[in-house]
């Protein structure tokens, strides 16, 4: 009797465990079925800028950081501003910055959407944010952010859904990643992004950045994106070996006037 009871208990335990294992995760984004009920982030996204001079509206990127720079860095940045205002922009190499145009992209809070288009892809338990310039962020849903994440180009990202808003938290960012001009993001930077649809084809990313090495407090910025469903992937690149504007050996700016090999002859 006792033996039969024990067997029954064991069978029941195994069965209920199996049932629990089969029970789908009810949290949003953890199954293909639940993904169908999430906001539609599909398609390609690019920054929503006024095409007739809207480049200046990117100033939001600059104004988000500049007032918060630590004094020694503010001095450095103001020096750059003065040069720019005087029309004396210099080659980045002469400012001590060697652009690493062919190295993998380093994420410091900007997902792209300017020279490239951005995708947000949903699979169970994960959101992947990628761009045509090589951004590749893996956002793991409902996992804790590791306290000691190793530094990497994209950092370590976790996320969760708050209603129709995807909240992404990132740490483990490469301290040498450029934040702005020649200022690096530094150690222990932390980013929180709140990503949501504002209307059918408009996405907003509201971002808070904490960068204790360089900023005196959290920096907040919101960027808007427009959807292009018809866009077909086109690889974007900053590689200097494809760029007539940058010498791949020295990283200095140049203007390579070597005619293309297949240039047709001049008109007769």
């Amino acid at each position: 009797m006792n033996r039969a009871f024990a067997v029954a208990i064991a069978v029941g335990f195994v069965s209920s465990a199996a049932c629990a294992a089969d029970k789908p995760d009810a949290r949003p984004g953890m199954t293909y079925a639940s993904i169908e009920h999430l906001p539609d982030f599909s398609g390609w996204w690019y920054l929503d800028l006024d095409p007739n001079g809207g480049f200046q509206s990117l100033g939001v990127v600059f104004t988000a950081f500049a007032p918060l720079l630590k004094p020694e860095l503010a001095k450095q940045f103001n020096s750059f501003l003065a040069e720019a205002q005087a029309g004396a922009l210099v080659d980045p190499v002469d400012r001590g910055v060697r652009p690493d145009h062919c190295k993998p992209m380093v994420f410091t809070g900007f997902n792209g959407g300017f020279e490239d288009n951005v995708e947000l892809l949903f699979t169970p338990g994960r959101v992947t944010i990628t761009s045509e310039l090589g951004l590749l962020r893996r956002v793991y849903l409902y996992r804790p952010l590791p306290a000691d994440a190793d530094a990497s180009s994209m950092g370590t990202s976790v996320g969760h859904w708050e209603g129709s808003t995807l909240v992404v938290e990132t740490a483990g960012l490469d301290p040498d990643g450029i934040l702005m001009t020649d200022i690096k993001i530094g150690r222990n930077a932390h980013i929180v992004e709140r990503i949501s649809l504002k209307d059918k084809d408009r996405l907003e990313i509201a971002r808070e950045l904490v960068a204790p090495d360089v900023l005196t407090g959290p920096s907040n910025m919101t960027l808007a994106f427009r959807r292009d469903r018809e866009h077909v992937f086109h690889e974007a690149s900053h590689c200097a070996h494809d760029d007539r504007s940058v010498d791949p050996e020295t990283a200095r700016e140049r203007f390579d006037l070597t005619p293309p090999a297949d240039l047709p002859p001049p008109p007769h």
């Binding site: 095409p51 007739n52 001079g53 020279e115 702005m180 203007f255 240039l263 001049p266």
Partner: protein
């Protein structure tokens, strides 16, 4: 660079129309654009310091080639020397990246090889035959503006082309 049908040399005799200088407001916008351009390495990848962004100029020529590549497309133009008919200078114009252009309607066939156009551009500071592309004007008068998000382009493109035959 000067070219004829059989040979190439490296002298220069540009035939340029009068330059266009931006207004004070446009200059401030241009300065802001430079600042923004540097705000993040992901926004743009060079400083445009090689170009004279304080003025734009026009030149007439024949499209030799469009290099439809990233990170910059390039437009090559044969420009006939004013004082030596049958001989040409070869001009090169840096234009925006493919994605930026296609968003505003460009295709790789927007400028056809052999087509006669007038190109507006910010000239190279070193005086060589080339610069940063602002817009092309087709023979029927329609205009094709380059990378509208690049510094100075949207404002400079508002300038009308000078009349044919104008000299610098």
């Amino acid at each position: 660079m000067s070219l004829d049908s059989t040979a190439a040399s490296f002298d220069r005799a540009p035939r340029l129309a009068p330059s266009v200088r931006p207004s004070a407001i446009a200059r401030r916008a241009l300065w802001l654009a430079f600042v923004c351009l540097w705000a993040s390495p992901a926004l743009a990848h060079h400083s445009y310091s090689m170009f004279d962004m304080t003025k734009s100029v026009f030149v007439e020529g024949t499209v030799a080639k469009v290099e439809w590549v990233n990170p910059h497309t390039f437009v090559w133009l044969y420009v006939e020397k004013a004082d030596t008919p049958g001989k040409y200078d070869l001009y090169a114009f840096e234009n925006g990246p493919i994605n930026m252009l296609t968003r505003t309607g460009w295709t790789k066939d927007s400028l056809r090889v052999g087509e006669k156009v007038t190109v507006q551009y910010f000239p190279l500071k070193d005086g060589k035959t080339g610069g940063s592309f602002v817009k092309a004007i087709h023979s029927d008068g329609t205009e094709l503006v380059g990378d509208k998000f690049a510094p100075g382009v949207a404002d400079a493109a508002k300038a009308a082309a000078p009349k044919a035959g104008a000299s610098q």
